[in-house]
């Protein structure tokens, strides 16, 4: 819902870093997006590709998205499971005593600059 705001923030961060390193352009941004992050990949990519053109350093930047699936650890079972949806129940014992190991990320891993 707020993907445009997220896209702008990503551009602010990468533009600043690119300037610090004296880059002439940012080739690529690698972004980690968890399935529970609340960010939808399609509107984010659309927003990014639209607003990146307004800045010289990011005009051609490619947004590379690394999706992070939900992974939980069930405390009673002691095992780890990947969940395909937003539920954090243990698929084995249906228990609620689970720990979320990954899936909420929204992070820039790295950028590639010229």
């Amino acid at each position: 819902m707020h993907e445009l705001s997220i896209a702008l923030e990503i551009l602010d961060i990468v533009e600043k870093e690119a300037r610090i390193h004296g880059a002439s352009a940012v080739r690529e941004v690698s972004l980690r997006v968890g399935d529970l992050s609340g960010v939808e990949v399609e509107p984010l990519t659309f927003s990014f590709d639209t607003v990146k053109k307004e800045r010289e350093l990011t005009r051609e930047t490619v947004l590379e998205i690394d999706r992070v699936p939900v992974k939980i650890r069930c405390l009673p079972c002691g095992r780890e499971y990947y969940n395909a949806d937003h539920r954090v129940l243990c698929p084995q014992c249906q228990g609620f005593e689970t720990q979320l190991l990954q899936g909420e990320e929204l992070e820039i891993e790295e950028i590639e600059i010229d």
């Binding site: 819902m1 707020h2 705001s5 997220i6 702008l8 923030e9 990503i10 961060i13 870093e17 390193h21 080739r27 972004l31 529970l36 609340g38 949806d85 937003h86 539920r87 954090v88 129940l89 609620f96 005593e97 689970t98 929204l106 992070e107 820039i108 891993e109 790295e110 950028i111 590639e112 600059i113 010229d114």
Partner: protein
Amino acid sequence: MSSKIILERKVLSRNDLLAADLRELFKSRGVAVMNIVSSPGSGKTSLLEKSLGILSASMAIGVIEGDIKTSNDADRISSTGVPVHQIQTGGACHLEAEMVRRSLDHFKLDELDLLIIENVGNLVCPSAFDLGEGMRTALISTTEGDDKPLKYPAMFRSSDVLVINKVDLLPYTDFDMEKVIHNARSINPGIRVIETSCRTGEGIGDWCDFVLGFAQQN
């Protein structure tokens, strides 16, 4: 010749950053803040109408009302005697931290123990907008589907409490209380559940105890 720079940097939206500032402000002034969210018509305003009289006897409360249009909800809150400010978004389907920040000019924060923000009726968008609150309460009612938590996971995942309202209508609907609680816990195992009826007053005592407990901790 290109090179890679590792950042490992979390991305926060402008709203997130402003909300974090608000959170610090509220903390420094000792004000507990609650954000109440739900679909339109679940009973957010009714819950406040029913409980503010009791709650304001033991603490100083301020209310921010969020709606697209009209000050109807703020007028209803005014009848309880509690200071209230209405935000009319004109079109935005959710409140944002910036709107809350501007709204604070209408309150004397130092004199408040608790600030309640009643969000725009919407189970989708408000989930993505941190308002700097210390507690988020989601409301659903028994005339809605008991699969609501599964259909709107972001909202129920980001909420601390689930108030199930209109329990007096249970005999007239197919709403399954056990199912809705199971569904909510499967999205958010730690979510606290309170059952209420604004009509009969059932559960309002539990709700008030809960709110008092929250305000006293902060």
